[in-house]
C-alpha cells in the first residue's frame, strides 16, 4: 500500500463535490487564449531590461568577461564590505517558497542562523521548503489553491515547466517593470549586479515578472578523472573523433570494472558538440530547426553505436537511476561529461580524503580535431522568483529590498552571512581566511534563500586557490566559442507541458537504436513522432515570438 494510494482513496470527498471543486480549481489556471496574445505579440520588446551595473566593491583575482566567463577568487576576501547599508525590512513578515536540496534545517526558534538572518533582514522570514524532487507538484497545488507566499520560486528549468505561465503571472503576480526597468533598478544595486543575459528569462507579457536566479554561461563542465587519464597514459585533451574513441578505449578495462563513461548522455554530449549539433535549436532567418532533425544528430547517433559496440560505456549506461557521481568518485568511470559546473565543489569535497583523485576538465575539439568545437552555453538561469500581487506598494518595495539583500555579491558581508552564517558558531576561518562550516552551520545554514535571490556565480574553491585559475582558464577557452540556444528567454507552453513525455519517448527510441535493438532507419520515424507530439507545436510557438520580435529584447 503506497502512501500515494492511501491519499487517493478517500471516502468522504463525494463525487459531486469533487466535480464542483475541480471546476473551481481549473478555472483558476486556465484563463482563455486572450491573454496568451499579450505575451506573444511584440509587447515584450517594449520591456526595458534592467541596467547592468556590476558590483565594484571587491576586485576578483581573475575578472569575469562580458561574454560570460565567471569571475574567480582564489581565496575568500579578507575584507567583507557591506553592500546593503540599511536594514531592508520594516518589522512584519515576508513569506517565500523554494526548493531545497538538503535535509530541512531546524525551525527559526531552534536555529540561531535563521534568527540572525531575520534580524539582518529586519523581517520575519517565513519559508516553505520543498524537496527538489517534489517541488513541481507542490508548486501546482499551491497555485491551484491560491495560497501564494510573497515570493515564489518557479520550478527549475528554462523556460520554467509551468503550464500557461504568462497568464498565471499576469493574474496572480506582480509586474516589476516600474521598479526594475532601466535605471529604476539602481535602487536595488545587488539586483543590478545580475547580468542582462539572465534577465531576459524573466520577461513576460511585456514586463519584468521576476528576479532570475543567475547561473554561469558555461552551463556544463566535462569533468574527467585526470589521474585515471594519466594512469592509462592518454592525453586529457583528445583531438577529434578518432582520438576520442581511442582514449575511451584506453580508459576501459571491464575486467577491472573500469569504463570511460557511466551514462549514455555523457559521450552523446561530447560527440554532439564534436559534430557541430545546434545548442538544442538552430535559428536561420527566424526559422528553427531542432537538434533531433539535423544531419549532425544522425551522425552523433551513428557514433554512439560505435561507442556502445566498443564497450567503452558502463553496461548499465541506459539506466537513468545510475549513480553516476558515485561511479566517478569510485574511479569506475573516468569521464563525467554532462554535469553542471557547480559539481566541481561537490567532487572536491567528496574526494578530499582520496589522495589519488585528481579532477580535470576536458576541452572538446571538432570532429577532425583541427579546432575547438563550439561550446553550448547554458540558459543562464536556475529559476525565477515571482512576487505575489501586493496591495501596498511600500510592501512590494520592502520585498524587493529583501531580495536585494539576498542577492549580495560574493565576498560581501551579507554574502558571508548568507552562505556561512556567524563566525564562531556556523563557521570557522581556516589559515587562509576561508570560511569552513561547523557542524551547526552545516545543519542550520541550508535555508533555500539562495533560490529566492542569488548573486551571479563566482568561481571559488575553499582551500584550493589553483582551482580558481584552472576553472577560469577552462571557461575562458570554451566560452568565446559558445553558441546560444536561440529560444532562451522565450516561452512555449508545449515545452512546459507536452515536450517532456515526447522527448523521453524519443530518447528511449534513440537508445534502442544505439543498443542495436532497432535499425538505424527507425530514426526518421522517431523524429516524425516527436514532431507531431510536441516538436512542431513548440517550433511554431517559438518562431512566432522570434519573428514578431516578441519575447525578451535581444
Amino acid at each position: 500500500m503506497s502512501p500515494v494510494a492511501f491519499t487517493r482513496r478517500q471516502v468522504l470527498a463525494g463525487a459531486s463535490g469533487t466535480a464542483l471543486l475541480m471546476g473551481l480549481g481549473l478555472s483558476g489556471c486556465s484563463n482563455g487564449s486572450k491573454s496568451a496574445e499579450t505575451n506573444s505579440v511584440a509587447v515584450n520588446n517594449a520591456a526595458v531590461l534592467p541596467t547592468y551595473i556590476p558590483y565594484t566593491g571587491l576586485e576578483p583575482d581573475l575578472p569575469g568577461t562580458e561574454e560570460g566567463v565567471d569571475p574567480a577568487f582564489r581565496n575568500f576576501p579578507s575584507e567583507n564590505p557591506r553592500s546593503v547599508p540599511e536594514t531592508p525590512g520594516r518589522g512584519g513578515s515576508v513569506s517565500g517558497m523554494a526548493n531545497i536540496y538538503y535535509a530541512v534545517p531546524p525551525g527559526p526558534d531552534r536555529n540561531t542562523y535563521w534568527q540572525g538572518l531575520n534580524e539582518r533582514l529586519g523581517t520575519n522570514l517565513e519559508l516553505q521548503m520543498v524537496s527538489n524532487a517534489d517541488y513541481q507538484q507542490k508548486f501546482a497545488t499551491t497555485i491551484a489553491g491560491n495560497e501564494l507566499p510573497d515570493m515564489l520560486q518557479t520550478p527549475n528549468g528554462s523556460p520554467p515547466p509551468v503550464a500557461n505561465l504568462p497568464q498565471l503571472l499576469q493574474r496572480r503576480f506582480t509586474d516589476l517593470s516600474e521598479h526594475l526597468s532601466g535605471d529604476a533598478i539602481k535602487d536595488y544595486p545587488n539586483l543590478a549586479n545580475i547580468p542582462t543575459r539572465t534577465w531576459r528569462s524573466s520577461v513576460y507579457n511585456g514586463g519584468i515578472y521576476g528576479i532570475p536566479i543567475p547561473r554561469g554561461a558555461v552551463g556544463n563542465y566535462h569533468f574527467i578523472r585526470k589521474d585515471l587519464f594519466d594512469k592509462a597514459g592518454v592525453s586529457a585533451e583528445p583531438k577529434g573523433y578518432e582520438e576520442f574513441l581511442e582514449t575511451a578505449k584506453a580508459l576501459t578495462d571491464p575486467a577491472q570494472r573500469r569504463w570511460a563513461f557511466s551514462l549514455w548522455n555523457q559521450p552523446r554530449t561530447v560527440l554532439g558538440r564534436m559534430n557541430g549539433e545546434p545548442n538544442v535549436w538552430r535559428e536561420e532567418g527566424g526559422n528553427l530547426t531542432h537538434r533531433y532533425e539535423t544531419e549532425e544528430y544522425a551522425q552523433t547517433l551513428n557514433d554512439m553505436i560505435a561507442f556502445w559496440k566498443a564497450g567503452v560505456m558502463h553496461p548499465d549506461s541506459f539506466n537513468p537511476a545510475q549513480p553516476f557521481k558515485q561511479l566517478f568518485n569510485a574511479g569506475t568511470v573516468a569521464i563525467n561529461a554532462d554535469d553542471g559546473y557547480p559539481g566541481w565543489t561537490q567532487y572536491i569535497l567528496d574526494n578530499q580524503d582520496n589522495e589519488e583523485f585528481e579532477l580535470g576538465l576536458m576541452p572538446v575539439y571538432n570532429r577532425d580535431g583541427s579546432d575547438l568545437a563550439p561550446w553550448h552555453l547554458g540558459s543562464g538561469i536556475f529559476s525565477i522568483t515571482m512576487i505575489k500581487q501586493q496591495d501596498d506598494p511600500e510592501r512590494l518595495k520592502e520585498i524587493l529590498r529583501v531580495l536585494n539583500w539576498l542577492a549580495a555579491p560574493f565576498g560581501t558581508e551579507e554574502y558571508l552571512y548568507r552562505l556561512f552564517g556567524q563566525e564562531g558558531v556556523d563557521h570557522e576561518k581556516d589559515a587562509d581566511g576561508n570560511p569552513v562550516l561547523t557542524k551547526t552551520g552545516t545543519t542550520n545554514t541550508v535555508l533555500p534563500i539562495r533560490y529566492l535571490a542569488d548573486s551571479p556565480y563566482t568561481i571559488y574553491q575553499p582551500g584550493r586557490p589553483q582551482d580558481a585559475d584552472y576553472q577560469h582558464a577552462y571557461q575562458s577557452q570554451a566560452i568565446p566559442t559558445g553558441i546560444e540556444n536561440p529560444v532562451v528567454g522565450l516561452f512555449s507552453n508545449t515545452a512546459a507541458t507536452d515536450n517532456a513525455p515526447a522527448d523521453k519517448k524519443f530518447i528511449d527510441g534513440a537508445n534502442e537504436i544505439v543498443q542495436g535493438r532497432q535499425p538505424f532507419s527507425q530514426l526518421a520515424e522517431l523524429v516524425a513522432a516527436w514532431r507531431s507530439e510536441a516538436g512542431d507545436k513548440m517550433r511554431a510557438e517559438y518562431q512566432e515570438q522570434l519573428q514578431t520580435g516578441a519575447g525578451a529584447p535581444r
Partner: protein, 313 residues
Amino acid sequence: MSTDQATIGDDTVRPEQANGRPVWMEKPSLLVQALKFIALAISVALVIIPFWSIIATSLASQETINAAAGGMVMWPGGIDLTAYQAVLSGGVVTRAMIISILITVVGTLLSLATTAGLAYWLSRSGSFGSKPMVILLLGAVLFSPGLIPNYLVVKELGLLDSYWSLILPVMINAFNVIVMRAFFQELPQELFESAAIDGASSATILVRIVLPLSKAVLAVIGLFYAVAYWNAFFNALLYIQTTDKWPMALVLRTFVVNQTTIGGDQLGPAEALPPQLSLQMAILVIAVVPILLVYPFLQRHFAKGVMIGAVKG
C-alpha cells in the same frame, strides 16, 4: 477387528518404521535433508542479504563505498556512524519522529474506530441506507478525486498547516472497510440474535461481541493504517507549510536527493551534498525500524487477516 474392512484403517496393520513414523513420513535421507537445507538457506539469504547490505552500507565510510565501486557493500569494514549522526543531528529528525509517532497512534486509533463502526453498520443486512453506502464505498475504491480537489477540500476546511490534515482526509480507507465488513459478515448471526434477546443494543453487540471476535482483522487493518500513516509524506508535503511540523517520512525524504542527473544549472555556488549512499541507507534503517518492531506482535494475526476477502467478498 472382525472384518478386513475394519482393519484397513487400523494403525496396527500399517507398515511402520522402527521410529513410529508412517512410511510417507519417513525420515529423509541425509542427502535430501542437505538439499532441503540448501534450498531454504538460499531463500532465506535472498531475503536477508539485501537487508544486511543496507545496514552494512549505512555503517560504511565513503572510502569503503568507493572501494566497492560506488555500490552497496556487504561488509562495512568498521563502524562509521557519520551517516546516522548526519541524520539525527540538529534535532529535526527526533522532533519529526515524535510527530510521526503521535500521528500514527492517534490516526490509527481513529481510523480503526471509524472503520469498524462503518463496517459493522454495513455488515448488518437491512440496516438503514447500507446498500447505497456500499456502492458509494466501491466508487471510492475505483475512482480517486485527484490531487488538486483534495488540496482544495483541505484548504476550505481550514486544515492547511494543521496535523489534522494528515489524519482526517485519509482516516477511512474504503478498501479496508470492505475487508472488515466481509469479516463481520462471517461471524455467526446467532450470536447477535441471542445478545439482542438478552437486551443488548447494537453498540453493545459491537463492543462486547463483534470486536472481541475480530482481533485478527483489527490487527491487520490496524497495521495497514499504521504503516500508511507512518510512511505518508505526500499529504504532508502538500498540506504542511511549517517545516517544524513535518512528519518523519517527509523529513527523511529531504535527505534523499534525486539521484538522476542534477543538471547544469542546479546547485548554487559553494553548495555540496554529503555522501549519498550511506546516508540513504541510514534513512532506510531509521524509517523501517519502528514498523519492524511492531510487526512481530501482529504477525500471528497477519496470515489469517490477509486471507479475509480472498474467498468471500
